[in-house]
């Protein structure tokens, strides 16, 4: 393990992953974005403005909460929840949206587009667009529009146009295709807020940077509350923005295990899962090279997960790299395991988690036992579960 980790390189690559695989029409825009982000990153007034909004609008910092009853239940290391579910809009997504909309304003862009799966990133994008008075269009797979009605209504309340995408399997990847088509058509005025740490460079690095506020806070809070760093940080992975935000500040802290949990759907031995690392292979989609679910001809295969937010056939390129170099470990949890963890956390801690972090929670017990009593494990509670209650009720056979 190198003790200085400086990815991505100048070409936006994390080892062989990442890069800028987009249509030529978009290349000048990507370069413009790269330069604008580099300038903003180096400008203390940009960071100060962002910090102000994170404190007073998003409600940061989020607590690091000792989950006493989960700890007792699992009988291993102390379990701590990093409460991103308490952010404004109820998930970690707003950290990134706030950073990107401030950048969009700096660049003089006047229209916002975004893609969304579960609707959390769509809601966060709609929220910041409303806050800054910019028109916003969110692309969302028609299937997701159906299973995430509360978030669709939220976005519309916020003044955003929600565009149901019927192409392909009508889920997150198809929404991303459609957002790319919008961007390539409206090159002059439009800023595309990508919601996960994927896409063409600089998105994976930029989204990671904006989400790294999570890991930086965990570090400070751990020292204050545990008197040391945790032995492990566990987070769920779809595209992996919450996980990379939590992991990145710890990469050079070799004593901290970083554990990502992919969605195994009905099981990795079935075709119906969304585990790109465990069940996919490297390829190129949506502007970057990374692990993808694909068939023998290189066509992208639809992922499946009970969680619309993890239902993506790819993964951020930095996770692909951390996987290959062994700095992070990747496991998976099935729909059934996530549902069980969802209920467990609700009953034991009085916290209804989103289905996405329920996947991470499903592996947290075993991680806590591996670490052992006296150790500390941080679980990234990336979002709250209000949006999922209809879906969960349906799976539990309850009529609402």
């Amino acid at each position: 393990m190198p003790n200085t980790y400086a990815w991505p390189d100048a070409q936006g690559r994390f080892g062989p992953y990442g890069g800028q695989f987009v249509a030529e029409t978009l290349m000048p825009l990507i370069h413009e974005l790269d330069a604008a982000y580099a300038a903003a990153k180096a400008d203390p007034s940009f960071q100060a403005e962002l910090d102000g909004f994170l404190t007073h609008y998003v409600g940061r910092e989020s607590p690091l909460y000792f989950a006493e009853r989960l700890t007792k239940h699992f009988g291993g290391a102390n379990i701590w929840l990093k409460r991103e579910d308490l952010n404004h809009t109820g998930a970690h997504k707003i950290n990134n949206c706030m950073g990107q909309i401030l950048l969009a304003r700096r660049m003089g862009k006047t229209r916002i587009i975004a893609e969304t799966g579960a609707g959390q990133h769509g809601v966060a994008s709609a929220t910041v667009a409303a806050r800054f008075g910019l028109p916003c269009t969110v692309y969302m797979g028609a299937v997701d529009v159906e299973r995430q009605q509360p978030n669709v209504f939220r976005m519309r309340l916020l003044g955003t146009e929600v565009f149901p995408v019927t192409a392909g399997a009508a889920t997150l990847k198809d929404a991303m295709n459609e957002a790319m088509r919008d961007w390539v058509t409206n090159v002059a005025d439009t800023y595309y807020i990508i919601g996960t740490a994927a896409g063409p460079h600089p998105y994976p690095a930029m989204v990671r940077d904006f989400q790294s506020v999570i890991g930086k806070e965990i570090k400070v809070q751990s020292r204050a509350q545990m008197g040391k760093l945790p032995e492990a940080v566990v987070a769920c992975i779809g595209g992996g923005s919450n996980a990379i935000g939590a992991f990145h500040p710890f990469i050079e802290d070799e004593g901290v295990r970083l554990i990502g949990v992919e969605a195994a759907g009905y099981g990795l031995d079935t075709p119906d899962h969304a585990a790109s690392l465990k069940g996919g292979r490297p390829g190129v989609l949506h502007g970057n090279r990374t692990y993808l679910l694909q068939d023998d001809d290189g066509n992208i295969v639809e992922g499946h997960s009970i969680s619309a937010g993890l239902d993506y056939p790819g993964i951020g390129p930095e996770h692909a790299w951390l996987h290959d170099i062994g700095r992070a470990e990747y496991r998976s949890a099935t729909d059934a395991e996530a549902l069980e963890a969802f209920q467990l956390c609700s009953k034991l801690e009085g916290i209804i988690p989103a289905l996405e972090p329920s996947h991470a929670l499903a592996r947290t017990g075993e991680v806590a036992r591996e670490v052992g009593k006296g150790g500390d494990v941080v679980l990234l509670m990336s979002g709250r579960g209000d949006k999922d209650i209809f879906q969960v009720a349906k799976h539990l056979g309850v009529e609402l």
Binding site: E24, R181, T185, V284, Q294, G298
Partner: protein
């Protein structure tokens, strides 16, 4: 052959003082037999160069007509290799019309660059357009293609300024494809008055013939573009004929080839000032 086939075709057209007509069709759309019938009929219907698309699950730069063509191709069991097999069949009857394979990078990555290049060369493919592989990412693919003399055709767009154009045309061969509108295929209309100076700029930067595509649907527009460009590409309007044939439960080839004839006649009816200007 390969790059040489493209050069020979443009040289012959220059002698005739006209632009090339380049139809785009999708492999396996709507079936192997029909797609092969269309392909084999194209030269007689007036195609000077053929763009042969291979179906991909996530065609990000395409509008609805070509998205649907890809879905029909996939439903017919087609992919990259089966599309190249069609080219190989075509080559049994035609050894002069250049074939440009067009699509997205992942199926090529999946096959492997060297294996792909060998398969493409053996199938009589002359050039390749990969929508999501800009020059920054193209070096390993170019290396594989160079070994078999297949041209990687580069794309210039309305967003390409002079500095970008230099990067785009570096080390390229065959021709340059000018994307006439910022957008996806088959939606906006290309304006010849706007395209003319852009084509001149691309031609000056590359020293190569310039083909224009995206947003050309009618014979009138094809003729207008033919006056200012070295080649005119029509895709969406042709795959829409396939869609209409499928909807009407009719054979697709006659409809598509009739449309090709209409468009190529329009292109042939005008002299291309630009072609004669090219050094």
């Amino acid at each position: 052959m390969t790059t040489a086939r493209i050069d020979a075709r443009f040289k012959a057209l220059k002698a005739q003082g006209r632009a090339a007509f380049v139809p785009y069709v999708m492999g396996g759309d709507p079936s192997r037999e029909e797609a092969l019938a269309i392909l084999k009929g194209l030269p007689a219907a007036g195609a000077d160069i053929i763009e042969l698309g291979f179906p991909f699950s996530d065609p990000m730069a395409e509008g609805p007509p070509i998205q649907k063509a890809a879905i029909r191709g996939l439903a017919a069991g087609f992919g990259l290799r089966s599309t190249m097999d069609l080219a190989r069949e075509f080559r049994k009857q035609d050894d002069a019309t250049p074939i440009i394979l067009m699509g997205y990078l992942n199926p090529i990555e999946s096959l492997g660059y060297d294996a792909f290049a060998d398969y493409a060369a053996a199938s009589g493919v002359d050039g390749l357009i990969v929508v999501d592989c800009p020059p920054e990412e193209a070096a390993p693919l170019v290396e594989a293609l160079d070994k078999v003399s297949i041209s990687l055709i580069r794309l210039a767009t309305p967003t390409s300024d002079d500095a970008r154009l230099k990067i785009v045309v570096q080390g390229t061969s065959g021709f340059v494809y000018y994307v006439a509108v910022a957008g996806v295929t088959g939606v906006k209309e290309a304006d010849a008055d706007v395209v003319a100076p852009a084509v001149a700029r691309v031609r000056a930067a590359s020293g190569l013939p310039v083909a224009v595509g995206f947003g050309i649907k009618t014979p009138e527009r094809a003729a207008a573009i033919a006056r200012v460009a070295d080649a005119v590409v029509v895709g969406s309007a042709l795959v829409e004929e396939v869609a209409a044939a499928v909807a009407a439960n009719e054979p697709a080839a006659p409809r598509v080839l009739a449309k090709v004839k209409l468009l190529s006649d329009a292109v042939r009816s005008v002299a291309s000032a630009s072609v004669t200007e090219t050094v």
